[in-house]
């Protein structure tokens, strides 16, 4: 391409700093959001994989067991009798430091040395002390720095409910996962109160050894490959991360409208210039290439900026992501960003790709017109008008296809694809809809005076400019509405669920990282005169033919049964049979994920061997998206040799004050209180909802970013529109319109555009919330959410759209009002 041709476009970009800047900002924001979410997701995933991998090291297999863990005598048997010498024992648990949680992993450094775990590269003296001194540990370097703990520093923690001061002998090497306390296995057993038990045994097995070993395992123990174990953990968070990715794509979709809009404007504004070039003998191809080069240039600058911005945003996003994973899934610490080139490249590719794609249509349009025609703007408008039926057709097709795709059983990815098709189809429908609207409003405007008439006409006459702007704003606002409805409904559903699930007045449980409650606590509690009755629960993880699942072994009180609500009619005589341990209850996500129905059977691996039980009912549960299985506690204790309980629900006598009862309980338990938590019904409810809100904080951030992109889009579209109409407005000024009237005209027009966008956003938002709830959340998590329209959401949506549009109209209005009419006239 010629240097001079390139110069024409470069200088053009420089002469329109606002336009170029906004385009770049739009691209940058789009790239930033996608990149930030990707980076945060990937970094969390990396931290997780690092944790999983570096902790199991080169292990090919793991032996795990039920809630009681593995008797360490089995490990001795493994080495002394079965001769498996590449076997390393692990004791794992969580300790708390202040409000933070750390993963305590106890290993045998000697048996582990073949497994390449963290701990390499340490001073031998540290390892020697780790082995020989109680309450010593190594801490991840980054975490140690964050907590300000140096070598040989002291770290106060609570382990198994007891306060302990750990001596941090050294920092783990940089490649170790964050938030990790590595200790000798003896230390870990002592701290976690797990003497005699192991949580798993890592193995390096030769091919063929696994089968032999599997046959020799005592009941209750399971042999699985490291890969499958990691995969199960990964799948847990996959759904959550997919949702985040969907949100980030929404931002780029809005960004695409913006880029398209600016590129179209940029072409239109130069139609004379482009026409001249064509007349001078610039070929179509050259012109097309020129415009794409221009877009590419903007794209590159935008993507570069977006990369920086994305990394900045990713840092705070990562904290939100890990916090959510911590709240919902497992202990994970990640503060380091995984700045992989592939990831950056992906953000870039999306940014540049969308930019080029958006520029393609205007560039083609500019290159396609004959030189004589390129000089006329009206032809573009008339072309658009002629294309309206096509747009309507394509839009309707997109809507339909999206709806079908999302509605059929196409999985999570299909659901997301459907959602996007739906949005796209809806956006395509907007120009025809606006044209139709014009036909309705035109007669009304005729009676409304000059300014409204001018404003309305301006929107309809410049549809090629106004429609994309309205569409972009509409999609962004609809997204916030849709997500808002989804979160609002979800929250209301969870609040309801908490209300009917938490039947007891007070609950006692062991503090974080702990196992069973000390024996005798329940008897003590029941001896209180205020207490009418108690229920007891035991949380454990068990193995079933559908994988590992959390089990709630429940010893219900008379009122407990009302704590379950069923998604489908349960089996007859449910409660007597449940109490006898003849059937299981499973949670809705579990049933959904494994396609189980009431009456199906689940095979459980108990310490007494395998057992198959029917599913008596499928209950709503929002506590875990992995699922929950409930069995009566008496049967559980027999099958798994685990008489312990982890929670006690307390039902007070009528008329007893909860606070008074709580005080009495605290006094009664006295010195046994260490590590016990007493929570009132209300407190649990509040805390749960706080966790819920924390979980969706990240969604809120993403919504704001999407609105940000849309705002930039509207601002840029309005600026373009108003600047382009400079001559027309100058003419109006020359004819006698006052400055104030002009400002009012511009604001009226932008406000109207905002109103249109808001109105069109309402049905789209509703559709999106429906899809998000019914399709995506259900497919990702398996939850039924009862839709509830948050009060005022519709009004807020309209306000948001109009507000954003008005805000975006301020600058163009101010600028237009300042321009002297004579000058504006002469410029043309």
């Amino acid at each position: 391409m010629g240097r001079l041709l390139l110069l024409t476009t470069l200088r053009h970009l420089r002469r329109q700093p606002w336009q170029s800047g906004l385009t770049i900002l739009g691209i940058a924001l789009g790239v930033a959001v996608v990149l930030a979410v990707d980076l945060a997701n990937q970094s969390a995933r990396r931290a997780f994989l690092l944790t999983a991998e570096s902790l199991s090291g080169r292990a090919s297999h793991q032996i795990s067991a039920g809630p009681a863990g593995i008797d360490e005598a089995f490990y001795r048997r493994l080495r002394l009798e079965l001769g498996l010498r590449r076997a390393a024992p692990v004791v794992e648990g969580v300790v708390t430091h202040g409000t933070g949680r750390l993963r305590l992993v106890g290993i045998d450094p000697i048996a582990s040395s073949a497994f390449r775990r963290p701990g390499g590269g340490l001073a031998p003296d540290s390892v020697r002390r780790l082995l020989t001194e109680p309450a010593t540990a190594l801490l991840s370097a980054a975490t140690a720095v964050r907590l300000g703990i140096g070598r040989d520093g002291r770290l106060p923690v609570r382990a198994a409910g007891r306060p302990v001061t750990l001596r941090i002998l050294d920092h783990l090497p940089e490649d170790a996962p964050e938030g990790l306390l590595l200790a000798d296995i003896a230390t870990a057993q002592e701290l976690l109160g797990r003497n005699g038990r192991l949580d798993r045994i890592d193995l390096i097995l030769e091919p063929g050894q696994a089968d032999t070993l599997a046959r020799q395992l005592p009941p209750g123990l399971r042999l699985e490959t490291s890969a499958s174990r990691t995969r199960v953990l990964e799948e847990m968070v996959a759904a959550f991360q997919t949702n985040l990715t969907a949100m980030s794509l929404l931002a780029i979709l809005v960004g695409a409208f913006l880029i398209y809009n600016t590129m179209t404007f940029s072409v239109l504004r130069r139609r004379r210039l482009l026409g001249t070039l064509r007349a001078l003998g610039v070929t179509r191809r050259e012109l097309f290439r020129l415009l794409l080069t221009e877009a590419l240039l903007l794209g590159v600058v935008g993507a570069l900026l977006g990369t920086g911005l994305g990394i900045l945003v990713a840092r705070s996003l990562l904290a939100l992501v890990t916090r959510t994973i911590n709240d919902l899934y497992f202990v994970l610490t990640a503060t380091r960003l995984a700045l992989e080139p592939a990831l950056l490249a992906k953000g870039w590719a999306i940014g540049l790709g969308v930019t080029l794609l958006s520029a393609l249509i205007p560039a083609l349009e500019a290159a396609r017109t004959r030189p004589a025609e390129a000089l006329r703007r009206s032809r573009l408008e008339s072309r658009l008008r002629r294309g309206l039926p096509w747009l309507a057709g394509a839009g309707a097709a997109g809507l339909l296809l999206g709806w079908l795709l999302a509605g059929t059983d196409s999985g999570l990815a299909g659901g997301l694809a459907g959602l996007f098709l739906l949005i796209l189809g809806y956006a395509l429908l907007l120009p025809p809809a606006l044209a139709g609207l014009d036909r309705v409003t035109a007669p009304l405007a005729g009676r409304g005076g000059l300014l409204p008439r001018l404003a309305l006409r301006g929107i309809a006459a410049n549809l090629s400019r106004t429609a994309p702007a309205i569409a972009a704003l509409s999609v962004a606002v609809a997204a916030t509405l849709g997500v808002g409805i989804m979160i609002g409904s979800f929250r209301a559903t969870v609040a309801d669920w908490l209300g009917y699930t938490l039947r007891g007045d007070l609950y006692i449980r062991q503090a974080a990282g702990a196992d069973a409650l000390p024996p005798g606590v329940r008897e003590l509690v029941e001896s209180l005169p205020q207490v009418a009755e108690t229920s007891a629960g035991r949380h454990a993880h068990i193995h079933t033919d559908r994988g590992t699942v959390e089990l709630l072994a429940l010893e219900p009180a008379t009122r407990s049964s009302r704590g379950f609500r069923f998604a489908a009619p349960p089996l007859p005589r449910l409660w007597p049979r449940y109490t006898r341990g003849e059937l299981l209850l499973v949670s809705e996500p579990f049933a959904y994920r494994h396609r189980l129905r009431t009456g199906d059977r689940l095979r459980l691996q108990t310490d007494e061997g395998e057992l198959s039980l029917p599913i008596g009912g499928i209950f709503y549960d929002y506590g875990s998206d992995r699922g929950l299985v409930s069995l009566v506690r008496s049967r559980y204790a027999r099958l798994w040799h685990d008489p312990g309980i982890s929670t006690i629900g307390i039902y007070l006598r009528p008329g007893v004050e909860t606070a008074a009862a709580e005080a009495a309980l605290t006094r009664l338990l006295g010195n046994r209180m260490d590590g016990l938590e007493i929570r009132s019904n209300r407190e649990i409810r509040e805390r749960s909802l706080a966790v819920f809100d924390r979980t969706f904080a990240i969604t809120r951030v993403l919504r704001l970013l999407a609105i940000g992109v849309a705002f930039v889009g509207v601002l840029s579209a309005l600026m373009a529109l108003q600047l382009e109409r400079g001559r027309e407005l100058a003419l109006l000024r020359a004819t006698g319109l006052t400055r104030g009237q002009l400002v009012r005209l511009v604001l009226l027009q932008t406000g109207l555009m905002g109103l249109y966008a808001g109105l069109f956003a309402l049905p789209l938002g509703w559709l999106m919330s429906d899809l998000l709830i019914e399709v995506i959340n259900r497919r990702a998590f398996g939850w039924t959410i009862f839709v509830r329209l948050p009060a005022g959401a519709l009004g807020e949506t309209l306000l948001l759209a109009v507000g954003a549009a008005l805000l975006a109209g301020l600058y163009p209005a101010w600028r237009m009002a300042r321009v002297r009419p004579a000058r504006a006239l002469r410029e043309e």
């Binding site: 001079l4 110069l7 024409t8 004379r272 070039l277 007349a279 001078l280 070929t283 191809r285 030189p371």
Partner: protein, 253 residues
């Protein structure tokens, strides 16, 4: 006419133009073109025909909306006729493909508009150099010719200015320089002086005629001004969509 530079001649010999029609710079045969206005078609040209000889300066007269600009666009290959043929320098313009047309225009046509249509983002010097660069001339040659053209329109001092800093007359002189710098066979001028005061008008016209004649090219000039028309070798009038040659006494109006 002996002042003709060797460049275009050499180019012409390599080109496709047959030698036997060399003296007919433009031949128009039965040109028709109509435009759609809403639901109706509005005919602009209805079988216009004429021939312009090489080196000839022809003034085209006609009322507003009579189709003068359309005719120019058809000759330049910017627009295509509904029927009829345009042959420029032996090249059947109406039969060329779009890229062929563009290349043809780039090499053989120079354009001067009423509104000067300089590229606002290019400096004066760069505006003049643009057609040369489009024709892929070596940079030394571009430099040399741009400079000599600037000298010819007497605007060397404004070489680095942007067009919006120039007066109307100056801008039009630059436009003429740009139209002639690549030594086109045919210069099309659409009311080049329509927007200028009397003094600038004379200056611009003089410049255009003398430069075109110097280069040995032909000139088709759309104008409303009898004064301008009188400077031409021949007159053409566009009326009712057809071309005719009035007797010179009729132009005194």
């Amino acid at each position: 006419m002996e002042t003709r530079a060797p460049g275009p001649g050499a180019r012409r010999q390599q080109g496709s133009r047959p030698a036997d029609v060399a003296d007919a710079a433009v031949r128009l045969t039965d040109l028709s073109r109509s435009y759609r206005e809403g639901e109706r078609f509005h005919p602009v040209l209805r079988g216009a025909s004429t021939t312009i000889h090489q080196g000839e300066c022809v003034a085209l007269l006609g009322r507003s909306g009579s189709g003068k600009s359309t005719l120019l666009n058809l000759i330049a290959g910017i627009d295509t006729p509904d029927a009829g043929e345009v042959v420029v320098g032996g090249v059947p313009v109406t039969r060329l493909t779009e890229p062929g047309l563009t290349r043809f225009r780039r090499r053989h046509i120079g354009f001067v508009y009423q509104f000067f249509n300089l590229l606002p983002t290019l400096r004066v010097r760069e505006n003049i150099a643009l057609p040369l660069e489009l024709n892929h001339l070596p940079s030394g040659e571009i430099e040399r010719r741009t400079r000599s053209m600037l000298a010819a329109v007497e605007l060397e001092s404004r070489a680095d200015a942007f067009p919006d800093r120039l007066s109307g007359g100056e801008q039009q002189r630059i436009a003429i320089a740009r139209a002639l710098v690549h030594r086109p066979d045919l210069v099309l001028a659409d009311e080049p002086t329509g927007n200028l005061d009397r003094h600038s008008c004379d200056l611009v016209l003089e410049l255009m005629l003398s430069l075109t004649r110097q280069q040995g090219g032909s000139l088709l000039l759309v104008t409303h001004s009898p004064a301008v028309a009188r400077r031409a070798d021949r007159l053409l009038v566009l009326e009712e969509g057809r071309l005719s040659e009035p007797d010179s006494s009729a132009i005194t109006v």
